[in-house]
Every structure is written in structure tokens, then in C-alpha cells.
Symmetry: C2
Subunit: 248 residues, 2 copies
């Protein structure tokens, strides 16, 4: 197994960082790595906002339900879906791309493009010894994030990535059994899936039990049933429409 794959397999989210700032060279290396990722039909339908202003960072902590590591890190990136530049490009070329941006297809492209770029940035950062954590809770109030970062129409913040020197060594949360994620030719039948999930409930229950001294005993199955019971961030569809994305 090579070093790159070792880095990938050793990934865990880091939520406590040592006091330290990224230097410019490292920031540029991380952005270059992000930009090197594949992108749908050459669209590069994402933007990365580097949040350097301490006041802004603190306001993002509020959006992210008070997660302090949104501010306390070496650098904080916000990944956005971005079709503003395509709109400007179309204007320059005397065209109009607005109907394309209004499709659900454009939403999928933007989310996937942002995901590929972000994961390259994360892999690059971890290969340099940094820890990282994704901050999906920026979507608690994407409208507020958009105001804070003054994002134009056709730009929607999707998630943050905090980067810093690790000040903790958390364990790796056990993933779903490979057979519950990886299927050959066709999706696995329900009986087999139920068996796999039941086994996973046991292993994750043990994991949480050990980590909490028996305080918490619910595994993945019960956790998902509880945490996904009530819909979250239901304003998102309306907000995307306000941003002129995925209106179809």
C-alpha cells in the first residue's frame, strides 16, 4: 500500500486545532490541488471562498450551531456551487445560459463539482500533515452565509472545510460493511441488506458504547432512524430558486 492510499485510509475528521495560520504558499497549493480535480464538461461550476476575516468567521460559527472550530483553525474554506462566472461568460459571448442553470441537472453538476474539488483539497491538506473537517451545517442557513460572503446570484454555499494542525486524535468511525455500499452489477437484495445493517447496528453500538463508557448504545441503524426522522433545511429549495438555480 502506498503513502497516498495510507493517507486516504487514515482520514478522520479533526475538530480541535492548534493555534497556527496557513502560509500563502500552502493556501495556493491547496487551491491548485482542488482545481486539478475533474469537472463536469469543463464547467468548473464551483467557487471557493477563503474566509480570513475573524469577524466573518465568528458569524459563520453562529450559522454552524456554535461549532467553534469553524473559527478556530488555520484556514477556513467555503465551497459553493457557482454559475455566476458562466453568466458573465455568456454575456461576454453574447449568449444566455440562464435556462441551463435553472435545471436540477445544474444543481447536481454544481454539487458534484464542488465535492470533487473539496476532496482534492482535503487529501492535499492531510498529506501535508493537516487535519480537516467538513462543515455541512453552513446549510443551516445558506441564505445568511450568502449574505455574509456577498455571494451574487447563481452562487450557493454548500459546505465549509476547516484546515488546521490536529490537537486531538479521534478514532475512526466504522463505515458500513463494504457489501452494503458496493454492489456487483445490480443492487443487493433487501434481505441481505437487512442482515448487513443488523450486523452494522451491533458493531457501531459497541463502538459508541466503548467510546462513551456505556452512556450511548444506539448504533447506526437507530441513529439514522432518529436523526433523519424530521426533515432538515427545508428552506433550501426556495433559497436555490431565489438564487436562480434549479427552478424547474
Amino acid at each position: 500500500m502506498n503513502e497516498t492510499i495510507q493517507h486516504l485510509l487514515n482520514h478522520r475528521s479533526i475538530r480541535k486545532f492548534k493555534q497556527h495560520q496557513l502560509d500563502e504558499e500552502t493556501i495556493e497549493t491547496l487551491i491548485k490541488a482542488a482545481q486539478a480535480a475533474s469537472t463536469s464538461s469543463y464547467q468548473q461550476a464551483y467557487a471557493i471562498i477563503g474566509v480570513e476575516d475573524e469577524g466573518l468567521k465568528r458569524q459563520l460559527v453562529d450559522v454552524a450551531s456554535g461549532q467553534r472550530y469553524v473559527a478556530e483553525n488555520s484556514y477556513f474554506f467555503v465551497f459553493c456551487m457557482d454559475y455566476h462566472k458562466h453568466t458573465l461568460a455568456a454575456e461576454l459571448a453574447g449568449g444566455d445560459v440562464s435556462r441551463t442553470i435553472e435545471t436540477t441537472e445544474a444543481l447536481v453538476v454544481g454539487a458534484v463539482d464542488a465535492g470533487l474539488a473539496a476532496q482534492n483539497l482535503v487529501v492535499a491538506a492531510e498529506s501535508l500533515g493537516y487535519g480537516t473537517v467538513y462543515i455541512g451545517s453552513l446549510r443551516n442557513d445558506a441564505r445568511r452565509v450568502s449574505e455574509l460572503l456577498q455571494l451574487p446570484d447563481h452562487v450557493v454555499p454548500l459546505f465549509g472545510v476547516a484546515v488546521g494542525l490536529p490537537d486531538q486524535q479521534p478514532g475512526k468511525k466504522p463505515r458500513l460493511p463494504m457489501d452494503a455500499v458496493f454492489h456487483r452489477n445490480t443492487y443487493t437484495d433487501d434481505d441481505t441488506m437487512r442482515e448487513l445493517l443488523t450486523g452494522y447496528e451491533e458493531s457501531t453500538s459497541s463502538y459508541y458504547g466503548e467510546r462513551t463508557g456505556g452512556q450511548r448504545t444506539e448504533g447506526w441503524v437507530k441513529q439514522m432512524a432518529a436523526s433523519m426522522h424530521e426533515p432538515k433545511r427545508t428552506y433550501l429549495r426556495e433559497f436555490l430558486k431565489e438564487k436562480q438555480i434549479a427552478k424547474d
Copy 2:
């Protein structure tokens, strides 16, 4: 610069592969790398279908507008958004997560989760000397892909990844200037963006001119204005609703 970052920066999509099959150990290493990526709220909202059947692969070529490398490779993965396992988990725990899956938020989570996992798989494959290419054109007819792979409700194919030993050495397509993708604290103003895009039009025009012996002279700006003029894959929203995803 370390080896991992060199791999990331050297990425280019490979569309012609030598005859060769992935062995089981490599397939498992790639899947483990994919699973090690971060996932939103531990949901792991994606599935990977390994397409090994030659007949299936040929039918996917048809969906992908005849791109032969969808069949002619060492292995072909289809990445899907997957909430079927959460539905089964909720049943096992006596709960109901259907309303959560019906939100646009769930669509974003599924697309980003699949993107992060796929990019880890791609990085792992390239670190082992393989070439890769993403196949977004599976979304030309995601309904047909879903039928071919017998995907249940709540599972939607997003894109493919072909892996193989490179039989070509394409150049790297120039990315947008860093300042057009990376913004500090706020999104860059329109005048600056127009300047950056105009410069990029020139550099990409030269790039295409050199590669085609002057046959093609349109750069990124004109290319986007043309290729994004007519909306594509407009059935997608309806198909997601059929799959009980993002119905809000």
C-alpha cells in the same frame, strides 16, 4: 511537494485504456479508499455499483452517447445517491425517514457524499498508476441506467468512473485562473471577473488552437456560452420524484 500532491496535480482524464482487468484486491482497496471519505452526518448516502457484466457495460455505452471507454476499461464503477439503506434502517428501527429523503437538502447531501467518495477512489486509483475518467453522460438517461442496474427506489445513478491502464497521454486542460475560482472573504467583483474570463478565453483558445492545428479556436468563454445555451437532461427532476427523492 509530496508524492500525493504530485498525483493530484498530474491528473488528466484518460479515455483510452490498455486491455487489463482489475484484480479483487485492488477493487477492494479502491472501495475502502472511497468509504474512508467524509460523509454528511455519518449518512454514507451513496452506493457504488461495480459493473462487471460485459452486456451491461455495452448497454451503458449506449446511454453514454457511444463513449467506448465505458466498456473498454479495467473496471467500471457507477456512483449513486443512495437512501434505500436508510429506508430499510428506519423500518428495522420502527421509524420513517421518507420525508427527509424528499427534501432538496437530501439531494445535495447525496450528490456531495457520492462526489467525495468517488474522488477518493480516483485519487487511490491514480496513485496506483491507473488512469480514470468520470462519465457524467450516464445522466443522459439515468432512468435507463437505473433499470439496467435494478436500482430500487431512493437510489439514483449520478455518474460513472472508468479505471484502467492508460493507453494515451493527453495534455492537461488549463483550469480557470485561480482568482476566478478562489475569492477572499467576498466574491470578486464583476469587472475583475470579466477581465479574468477574457484572459482565460485567450489562453484556452491558444490551447485548443495548438491541439487541433488551428481547427478549433473557441476558448472557454465561447465554449460555455454555446454548450450551456440549451438546457440538458431536463427529465432529471421528474425522475428524482419517481425515485421519491427531492420531491419538495
